[in-house]
């Protein structure tokens, strides 16, 4: 209800972020999460079963 009145973010990310350093690489935790999610999403998209197999078999 408070959100509807104020539109305030539930978990605002305004506090300074955490950064991971490895040799010359420095990356924010947020960006690292996004990149990992992208790779995971790609892999899941490749391997997850796709519905409608029997229908496609009928139409082969």
């Amino acid at each position: 209800m408070a959100f509807l009145l104020s539109f305030a973010a539930l978990i605002p990310l305004d506090n300074l972020g955490h950064y991971i350093q490895w040799h010359i690489i420095e990356i924010s935790v947020a960006n690292l999460i996004v990149m990992i999610l992208m790779v995971v999403t790609f892999i899941v998209a490749l391997v997850a079963p796709f519905p409608g197999r029997s229908r496609r078999k009928e139409n082969r």
């Binding site: 104020s6 992208m38 790609f42 899941v44 998209a45 490749l46 796709f50 409608g52 082969r60």
Partner: protein
């Protein structure tokens, strides 16, 4: 007017050319090849849908002007939607790019589909950049004063002044969205015209 005269008209020739390349059943098909059977295929439409949300939220922001979101909680929420739809847009576009590369989706005369996709990607980066410098906050100040050095180094900075908020905002809300929409439209129409690329086939002899 004789029939041959009508045949020679630009309108008639264009219409027939379009009808030949993209008849209604190709533009809005009701079937697809059975090899389209992977979740990787949804990232194209996911990219297109997020572009729709980016543009829609951008239009709402435009209704009240570039300063609105700084002072209005509702405006800030729409700005948040605009930001996150951009993040989802790039996320989906990159996964889509990885998938299309893995499929070598340029095969069978589809090189132009690939190329319009790449140019759309680059134009989107430009659109995102001009958006960041149009925010009129600290982020814009920093990004513009840093980016100017790179762009100046190419000579383009003399004409594309990233410190000029008015210019950057107009590129962001007029020119680059127009570019992105036209390129995306070409890209999608080409997919419809050429169809989705068939699988690699061992021993294939006959090309499309």
């Amino acid at each position: 007017m004789s029939t041959s005269e009508i045949d020679r008209q630009w309108t008639t020739r264009l219409r027939r050319r379009v009808e030949g390349k993209l008849p209604p059943e190709k533009l809005l098909p009701d079937t697809q090849p059975t090899y389209v059977s992977s979740w990787i295929y949804v990232f194209g439409i996911a990219t297109l849908s997020s572009l729709g949300v980016v543009i829609g939220t951008g239009c709402i922001l435009a209704l009240r002007g570039p300063q609105w979101w700084h002072g209005s909680a509702y405006g800030h929420f729409i700005n948040s939607m605009h930001l996150w739809s951009v993040e989802i847009f790039f996320f989906a576009m990159v996964v889509h790019l990885w998938g299309k590369f893995a499929m070598a989706a340029w095969r069978g005369g589809r090189a132009l589909t690939w190329m319009t996709g790449v140019v759309t990607f680059l134009v989107s980066i430009g659109a995102g950049f001009t958006g960041y410098v149009s925010q009129s906050n600290f982020d814009s100040q920093w990004i513009s004063t840093q980016a100017k050095d790179g762009i100046n180094a190419t000579g383009a900075g003399a004409y594309f002044n990233v410190l000029n908020l008015g210019q950057m905002l107009m590129w962001h809300i007029v020119l680059l969205p127009l570019g992105a929409i036209v390129l995306t439209g070409m890209h999608v129409l080409m997919v419809r015209i050429k169809g989705v690329v068939p699988p690699f086939e061992e021993g294939a002899e006959v090309a499309e």
